[in-house]
Amino acid sequence: MRVISFGVILYLFWLALSGYFKPFLLIGGLICTLFVLYASRRMKLIDTEGYPAHLFPAASTYWPWLLWEIIKSGWNVTKVILRPRLSISPAMTRLVASQHSAAGIATYANSITLTPGTITTGAKGNILTVHALERGGALDLEEGGMDARVTRFERGG
Protein backbone atom coordinates (compact mmCIF):
# COMPACT_ATOMS: atom_id res chain seq x y z
CA MET A 1 0.00 0.00 0.00
CA ARG A 2 2.71 2.43 1.13
CA VAL A 3 4.87 1.34 -1.83
CA ILE A 4 2.01 1.86 -4.31
CA SER A 5 1.17 5.36 -3.08
CA PHE A 6 4.89 6.25 -3.15
CA GLY A 7 5.07 4.98 -6.75
CA VAL A 8 2.03 7.03 -7.78
CA ILE A 9 3.51 10.18 -6.21
CA LEU A 10 6.87 9.53 -7.92
CA TYR A 11 5.17 9.17 -11.30
CA LEU A 12 3.04 12.30 -10.81
CA PHE A 13 6.23 14.17 -9.83
CA TRP A 14 7.91 12.96 -13.02
CA LEU A 15 4.86 14.01 -15.10
CA ALA A 16 4.79 17.47 -13.49
CA LEU A 17 8.46 18.06 -14.20
CA SER A 18 8.37 16.65 -17.72
CA GLY A 19 5.21 18.29 -19.09
CA TYR A 20 5.27 16.05 -22.20
CA PHE A 21 2.47 13.55 -22.83
CA LYS A 22 3.78 11.50 -25.80
CA PRO A 23 3.34 7.73 -25.34
CA PHE A 24 7.07 7.02 -25.72
CA LEU A 25 8.02 9.50 -22.97
CA LEU A 26 5.15 8.40 -20.71
CA ILE A 27 6.39 4.80 -20.87
CA GLY A 28 9.97 5.96 -20.34
CA GLY A 29 8.86 7.81 -17.22
CA LEU A 30 7.03 4.74 -16.00
CA ILE A 31 10.16 2.61 -16.42
CA CYS A 32 12.22 5.20 -14.50
CA THR A 33 9.58 5.33 -11.74
CA LEU A 34 9.57 1.55 -11.39
CA PHE A 35 13.36 1.47 -11.25
CA VAL A 36 13.51 4.17 -8.53
CA LEU A 37 10.75 2.35 -6.66
CA TYR A 38 12.72 -0.92 -6.84
CA ALA A 39 15.94 0.79 -5.70
CA SER A 40 14.31 2.62 -2.76
CA ARG A 41 12.55 -0.56 -1.68
CA ARG A 42 15.81 -2.44 -1.78
CA MET A 43 17.47 0.32 0.28
CA LYS A 44 14.51 0.11 2.72
CA LEU A 45 13.82 3.84 2.32
CA ILE A 46 10.03 3.53 2.13
CA ASP A 47 9.38 3.42 5.87
CA THR A 48 7.65 5.86 8.23
CA GLU A 49 10.83 7.95 8.37
CA GLY A 50 11.78 8.12 4.68
CA TYR A 51 8.22 8.46 3.41
CA PRO A 52 6.07 9.76 6.31
CA ALA A 53 2.74 9.52 4.45
CA HIS A 54 0.84 9.56 7.75
CA LEU A 55 2.06 13.14 8.36
CA PHE A 56 0.85 14.59 5.02
CA PRO A 57 -2.69 15.56 6.18
CA ALA A 58 -1.37 17.28 9.32
CA ALA A 59 1.25 19.11 7.22
CA SER A 60 -1.51 21.09 5.50
CA THR A 61 -2.15 22.98 8.74
CA TYR A 62 1.37 22.80 10.18
CA TRP A 63 3.14 24.43 7.22
CA PRO A 64 0.94 27.59 7.13
CA TRP A 65 1.51 27.95 10.90
CA LEU A 66 5.28 27.53 10.44
CA LEU A 67 5.27 29.98 7.52
CA TRP A 68 3.63 32.63 9.71
CA GLU A 69 6.20 32.00 12.49
CA ILE A 70 8.99 32.37 9.89
CA ILE A 71 7.56 35.69 8.65
CA LYS A 72 7.18 37.07 12.21
CA SER A 73 10.68 36.12 13.37
CA GLY A 74 12.19 37.09 9.99
CA TRP A 75 10.78 40.59 10.49
CA ASN A 76 12.15 40.71 14.07
CA VAL A 77 15.66 39.63 13.01
CA THR A 78 15.61 42.17 10.15
CA LYS A 79 14.77 44.94 12.63
CA VAL A 80 17.65 43.81 14.88
CA ILE A 81 20.07 43.80 11.92
CA LEU A 82 19.08 47.25 10.64
CA ARG A 83 18.96 48.97 14.05
CA PRO A 84 21.55 51.80 13.89
CA ARG A 85 23.10 50.76 17.21
CA LEU A 86 23.60 46.99 17.05
CA SER A 87 22.35 45.49 20.30
CA ILE A 88 22.15 41.71 20.33
CA SER A 89 22.14 39.25 23.21
CA PRO A 90 23.21 35.86 21.82
CA ALA A 91 22.30 32.90 24.01
CA MET A 92 22.58 29.13 23.81
CA THR A 93 20.30 26.69 25.55
CA ARG A 94 19.22 23.06 25.60
CA LEU A 95 15.69 21.84 24.94
CA VAL A 96 13.92 18.54 25.49
CA ALA A 97 12.01 17.53 22.35
CA SER A 98 8.75 15.84 23.37
CA GLN A 99 8.23 14.07 20.01
CA HIS A 100 8.40 10.29 19.89
CA SER A 101 9.62 9.57 16.35
CA ALA A 102 12.81 10.51 14.56
CA ALA A 103 10.73 12.30 11.90
CA GLY A 104 9.01 14.33 14.66
CA ILE A 105 12.26 15.40 16.35
CA ALA A 106 13.78 16.24 12.95
CA THR A 107 10.71 18.36 12.16
CA TYR A 108 11.10 20.25 15.46
CA ALA A 109 14.87 20.78 14.98
CA ASN A 110 14.41 21.93 11.39
CA SER A 111 11.52 24.23 12.32
CA ILE A 112 13.73 25.91 14.93
CA THR A 113 16.42 26.45 12.30
CA LEU A 114 13.93 27.66 9.67
CA THR A 115 12.58 30.42 11.92
CA PRO A 116 15.21 33.19 11.70
CA GLY A 117 16.84 34.07 15.02
CA THR A 118 17.17 30.52 16.31
CA ILE A 119 19.41 27.69 15.05
CA THR A 120 19.62 24.08 16.16
CA THR A 121 23.34 23.47 16.49
CA GLY A 122 23.13 19.92 17.79
CA ALA A 123 20.73 17.07 18.42
CA LYS A 124 21.46 14.09 20.60
CA GLY A 125 18.57 11.78 21.26
CA ASN A 126 15.74 14.11 22.22
CA ILE A 127 18.02 16.87 23.55
CA LEU A 128 18.48 19.80 21.17
CA THR A 129 21.17 22.45 21.54
CA VAL A 130 19.99 25.82 20.25
CA HIS A 131 21.73 29.11 19.48
CA ALA A 132 19.56 32.23 19.55
CA LEU A 133 20.41 35.69 18.26
CA GLU A 134 18.48 37.25 21.12
CA ARG A 135 18.00 35.96 24.65
CA GLY A 136 14.23 36.26 24.24
CA GLY A 137 14.27 33.79 21.36
CA ALA A 138 15.89 31.13 23.55
CA LEU A 139 13.43 31.77 26.39
CA ASP A 140 10.46 31.51 23.97
CA LEU A 141 11.67 28.06 22.88
CA GLU A 142 12.16 26.97 26.50
CA GLU A 143 8.49 27.79 27.12
CA GLY A 144 7.77 25.01 24.63
CA GLY A 145 5.03 26.50 22.43
CA MET A 146 6.64 25.28 19.20
CA ASP A 147 7.51 21.93 20.79
CA ALA A 148 3.83 21.36 21.64
CA ARG A 149 2.74 22.39 18.13
CA VAL A 150 5.17 19.94 16.50
CA THR A 151 4.03 17.14 18.83
CA ARG A 152 0.44 17.88 17.80
CA PHE A 153 1.56 17.70 14.15
CA GLU A 154 3.30 14.39 14.83
CA ARG A 155 0.07 12.96 16.26
CA GLY A 156 -1.70 13.98 13.05
CA GLY A 157 -3.61 17.10 14.13
Binding site: V77, I88, A91, T115, T129
Partner: protein, 123 residues
Amino acid sequence: MIFLDVASWVLILIGSGFIIAGAIGVLRLPDVYTRMHAASVIETVGAGALFAGLMLQAGLTQVTLKLLFILLLFFFTGPVITHALAQAALHAGVKPELEEDRRDRLSASKTDGNAGSDEGRLP
Protein backbone atom coordinates in the same frame (compact mmCIF):
# COMPACT_ATOMS: atom_id res chain seq x y z
CA MET B 1 -4.31 41.36 -14.65
CA ILE B 2 -2.78 44.62 -13.44
CA PHE B 3 -3.56 43.62 -9.84
CA LEU B 4 -1.57 40.37 -10.09
CA ASP B 5 1.29 42.24 -11.71
CA VAL B 6 1.40 44.83 -8.92
CA ALA B 7 1.17 42.13 -6.21
CA SER B 8 3.93 40.16 -7.92
CA TRP B 9 6.27 43.17 -8.09
CA VAL B 10 5.53 44.13 -4.48
CA LEU B 11 6.50 40.60 -3.39
CA ILE B 12 9.65 40.63 -5.53
CA LEU B 13 10.70 43.98 -4.03
CA ILE B 14 9.94 42.80 -0.47
CA GLY B 15 11.98 39.64 -1.07
CA SER B 16 14.88 41.64 -2.48
CA GLY B 17 14.69 43.98 0.53
CA PHE B 18 14.98 41.06 2.96
CA ILE B 19 17.89 39.63 0.97
CA ILE B 20 19.74 42.98 1.13
CA ALA B 21 18.98 43.25 4.87
CA GLY B 22 20.29 39.72 5.37
CA ALA B 23 23.47 40.56 3.46
CA ILE B 24 23.97 43.66 5.64
CA GLY B 25 23.46 41.45 8.68
CA VAL B 26 26.12 38.99 7.53
CA LEU B 27 28.55 41.94 7.39
CA ARG B 28 27.48 43.64 10.64
CA LEU B 29 27.06 40.78 13.12
CA PRO B 30 30.10 39.76 15.17
CA ASP B 31 30.65 35.96 14.85
CA VAL B 32 29.88 32.85 12.78
CA TYR B 33 26.79 31.85 14.74
CA THR B 34 25.09 35.25 14.80
CA ARG B 35 25.88 35.71 11.09
CA MET B 36 24.10 32.45 10.35
CA HIS B 37 20.91 34.04 11.71
CA ALA B 38 21.23 36.82 9.13
CA ALA B 39 21.80 34.22 6.40
CA SER B 40 18.64 32.39 7.45
CA VAL B 41 16.61 35.58 6.85
CA ILE B 42 17.85 35.45 3.25
CA GLU B 43 17.00 31.82 2.63
CA THR B 44 13.57 31.82 4.28
CA VAL B 45 11.75 35.18 4.14
CA GLY B 46 13.85 36.64 1.32
CA ALA B 47 13.74 33.66 -1.02
CA GLY B 48 10.12 32.92 -0.03
CA ALA B 49 8.78 36.36 -0.97
CA LEU B 50 10.92 36.48 -4.13
CA PHE B 51 9.63 33.07 -5.27
CA ALA B 52 6.03 33.99 -4.44
CA GLY B 53 6.43 37.06 -6.65
CA LEU B 54 7.92 34.98 -9.48
CA MET B 55 5.08 32.46 -9.19
CA LEU B 56 2.52 35.25 -9.63
CA GLN B 57 4.45 36.34 -12.75
CA ALA B 58 4.31 32.83 -14.20
CA GLY B 59 0.61 32.26 -13.41
CA LEU B 60 -0.92 28.78 -13.34
CA THR B 61 1.77 27.09 -15.41
CA GLN B 62 4.34 24.35 -15.10
CA VAL B 63 6.91 27.03 -14.27
CA THR B 64 5.02 27.88 -11.07
CA LEU B 65 5.03 24.21 -10.09
CA LYS B 66 8.78 24.00 -10.66
CA LEU B 67 9.34 27.19 -8.63
CA LEU B 68 7.31 25.61 -5.82
CA PHE B 69 9.49 22.48 -5.93
CA ILE B 70 12.65 24.61 -5.77
CA LEU B 71 11.25 26.50 -2.77
CA LEU B 72 10.38 23.23 -1.01
CA LEU B 73 13.89 21.98 -1.74
CA PHE B 74 15.23 25.19 -0.12
CA PHE B 75 13.09 24.67 2.98
CA PHE B 76 14.11 21.04 3.40
CA THR B 77 17.83 21.32 2.63
CA GLY B 78 18.43 24.75 4.21
CA PRO B 79 18.24 23.59 7.86
CA VAL B 80 20.45 20.58 7.10
CA ILE B 81 23.15 22.83 5.63
CA THR B 82 22.85 25.32 8.51
CA HIS B 83 23.10 22.48 11.00
CA ALA B 84 26.18 21.05 9.27
CA LEU B 85 27.82 24.49 9.28
CA ALA B 86 27.11 25.05 12.99
CA GLN B 87 28.38 21.57 13.85
CA ALA B 88 31.55 22.13 11.82
CA ALA B 89 32.18 25.48 13.55
CA LEU B 90 31.65 24.00 17.02
CA HIS B 91 33.80 21.01 16.14
CA ALA B 92 36.61 23.31 14.96
CA GLY B 93 36.47 24.98 18.36
CA VAL B 94 34.98 28.33 17.34
CA LYS B 95 33.51 29.66 20.60
CA PRO B 96 30.20 31.49 20.27
CA GLU B 97 30.17 35.02 21.75
CA LEU B 98 27.36 34.58 24.23
CA GLU B 99 25.63 36.97 26.56
CA GLU B 100 24.00 34.09 28.39
CA ASP B 101 24.90 30.40 28.25
CA ARG B 102 21.96 28.29 29.37
CA ARG B 103 23.26 25.01 27.98
CA ASP B 104 23.62 23.43 31.42
CA ARG B 105 20.02 24.12 32.44
CA LEU B 106 18.96 20.50 31.86
CA SER B 107 21.80 18.76 33.70
CA ALA B 108 20.47 19.81 37.14
CA SER B 109 17.01 18.34 36.67
CA LYS B 110 18.12 15.25 34.68
CA THR B 111 14.86 15.16 32.76
CA ASP B 112 16.27 12.54 30.48
CA GLY B 113 19.01 9.98 30.61
CA ASN B 114 21.24 11.71 28.10
CA ALA B 115 20.77 15.30 29.31
CA GLY B 116 23.74 17.20 30.60
CA SER B 117 27.33 17.59 29.63
CA ASP B 118 27.93 14.43 27.62
CA GLU B 119 28.53 16.37 24.42
CA GLY B 120 32.30 16.42 24.70
CA ARG B 121 32.79 18.22 21.42
CA LEU B 122 31.12 21.40 22.64
CA PRO B 123 33.44 24.15 23.88
